[in-house]
């Protein structure tokens, strides 16, 4: 493959990359259908499905009633009986109305039935704050589903991974939950042409460094990379890991990095307590990598607070680049 061909370097937005993945999947596999609220002529609340309904019709791009529980359940039943539904929750917050079908049904049916059926459903959750939509339209609840055996949970941070992880999710025989960050939908990046998959369960080292490890998810990967750039100018070499999948978590990549750097910061937008950072920290503390630590682990997560409306307050409750810089400098200079 020619890595420098013009098409290989084309850029798409994160939303366009997801749409391209769905388009490719629908051409490849007649069983793939899209379901969700206002995903047809409206094109999706965030424009992710766009004009796909014009290409595939309303039988394959199905507007559901405002029925998150029923809609999720229909997707589960369809997945058990031969279709490959991609179900969009309009906002991840609304998935709270569909948790019964996600947690009791999708996640457990295969196990409860002794492996007699699989549930190859894909669900998409537009998540996160930064849109001024306040407490019921801005949450990051990925840890809820990551707590449930039987589900796989991914959080793409780049357009290329948004496409690759969605196509990987459709290849996967089990339910895959995709948490997309709404602020990333317009972010552009290089997206390879055609069909490819990004492996579920593999983290990505986004920047190498020797002084400390920053494990980040979703939008925080970009904030961590911004911080790493500033830190490099100060002589601190931060290694930035994009976790990409939070269930199952890529233990090897995280532990290898911590063994190398001896310092760890976890950055995630969801409420700090009992979140992804707790799991990453425990993973390190319970392993031999603990012996390599030169400083305590630092978690940067959301405040113990619903997402507020006022824009300054909204920014204040989730980690920002200066927070990462401060934590990294303190760690690197032995102040923790």
């Amino acid at each position: 493959m020619n890595m420098h061909s013009k098409t290989d370097l084309r850029e798409l937005s994160y939303a366009e990359a997801i749409r391209e993945a769905m388009d490719i999947a629908m051409v490849r596999d007649e069983r793939v259908i899209l379901m969700g609220e206002d995903i047809g002529v409206y094109g999706g609340a965030f424009g992710v499905t766009g004009d796909l309904v014009e290409k595939y019709g309303t039988d394959r791009v199905m507007d559901t009633p405002i029925s998150e529980l029923g809609g999720a359940g229909v997707a589960v039943g369809a997945a058990m009986t031969g279709l490959r539904p991609i179900f969009e929750f309009q906002f991840s917050d609304f998935a709270t109305l569909g948790m019964e079908q996600i947690v009791n049904q999708a996640a457990k049916i295969r196990y409860m039935l002794g492996g007699a059926v699989s549930v190859p459903v894909v669900m998409r959750f537009p998540s996160g704050s930064g849109t001024g939509a306040a407490a019921q339209h801005s949450q990051s609840l990925e840890a809820w589903t990551a707590h449930v055996p039987g589900l796989k949970v991914v959080q793409p941070a780049t357009p290329a991974d948004a496409k690759g992880l969605l196509l990987a999710a459709l290849e996967d025989p089990d339910p895959v939950m995709i948490y997309e960050h709404k602020i990333l939908y317009k972010m552009k990046g290089h997206v390879p042409d055609g069909y490819y998959t990004t492996p579920i369960g593999k983290a990505a080292v986004m920047r190498e460094g020797k002084d400390l490890t920053i494990v980040a998810t979703s939008i925080m990967v970009h904030k961590a990379l911004d911080a790493a750039e500033t830190l490099a100018a100060e002589g601190i070499e931060a290694e930035v890991i994009d976790l990409r999948t939070i269930r199952p978590m890529d233990r090897d990549t995280v532990l290898a990095s911590v063994r190398k750097t001896g310092r760890l910061v976890c950055v995630y937008e969801a409420v700090k307590t009992l979140g992804v950072g707790a799991e990453v920290s425990a993973m390190v503390a319970e392993s031999d990598a603990f012996d390599y630590l030169d400083a305590p682990i630092v978690r940067l997560g959301g405040a113990e607070c619903p997402i507020p409306y006022n824009p300054e307050l909204e920014k204040a409750v989730v980690p920002q680049v200066p927070d990462i810089l401060e934590a990294a400098r303190n760690l690197a200079r032995g102040r923790v």
Partner: protein
Amino acid sequence: MRDTVIPNNVPYAISRYSAEELKEALKKMYLIRKFEEGAEDSYMRGLIHGTMHLSIGQEASAVGSCMSLSDEDKITSTHRGHGHCVAKGADLSRMFAEFFGKESGYCKGRGGSMHIADPSKGNLGANGIVGGGLPIAVGAALSAKRLGTGAVTICFFGDGANNEGAFHEALNMAKVWNLPVVFVCENNKYGMSTSTERSTAVKNIADRAVAYAMPGVTVDGNDFSAVTEAVDAAVERARNGEGPSLVENVTYRWRGHSKSDRNRYRTKEEIAEWQSRDPIAAMAKLLVDHKIATEDEVAGIEADATRIIEEAIAFATEGDNPKIEEVTRDVYTEETAS
């Protein structure tokens, strides 16, 4: 199946089905009754743990509803689902083995009483969540329509589930998309201890069909022929592309909700009154009255069922327990995830 015009005064089922089919239906009803009695007995003797929800008294609803289904057609079932499983053609030995938690059971000992399923016969499984199967059944019907399989899905649920939000969402979507699904409500009068009078704003649950612009009918769920007539018509509509229907089979569970039930919410007289309307005795009488079977044949069918259940319990007793080291098997399809 007979292809003749139904004569006057002959019950629907007698005209519609062959003698062999009717005798097989009676056998399944006996198998359900004796499965439940065997399960209860095994529990009393301490051979199994957990709880169970017995469907004794509801056999005509389960068997009558499934009469016109093939193995390609699907059902979703409930926590009171043993009868549906038998009606859809499950193997009694594997059912009992699951009840005993054995590796040879339908769910390899992972599911138990509330999750027995047999996808090879179109049974997508019982469900421990009241109303959990309603949207799943709509999904199965969506697959059938989209993939053009011609299959119909019967969604069994109880009177309790009709007050769940999932009921509203599922029936609405089934009609909006005109899907081949039949919602069969087994109204046994109580959601655990709470009667339909105390929980449900309408007198008949089938009245709610109006809200979804689909046909709705209430029938005597202990009358095999009445159940069959209503559900067969609904299945035929679904198969012809005429969309979903709601059928309410009014019936009664002779036993309590589960093993913890002390029957404090209903009277002995009420239970006795319903026991006098035994659906199996009525079915046997129907077959004898219409010379489909002699009384000796009926006795033979019952004896066959008894023998099958005894063999099933022996099979289950002898089966191996699952290996503890394999407890996480089947959480995922591929064993790479953790």
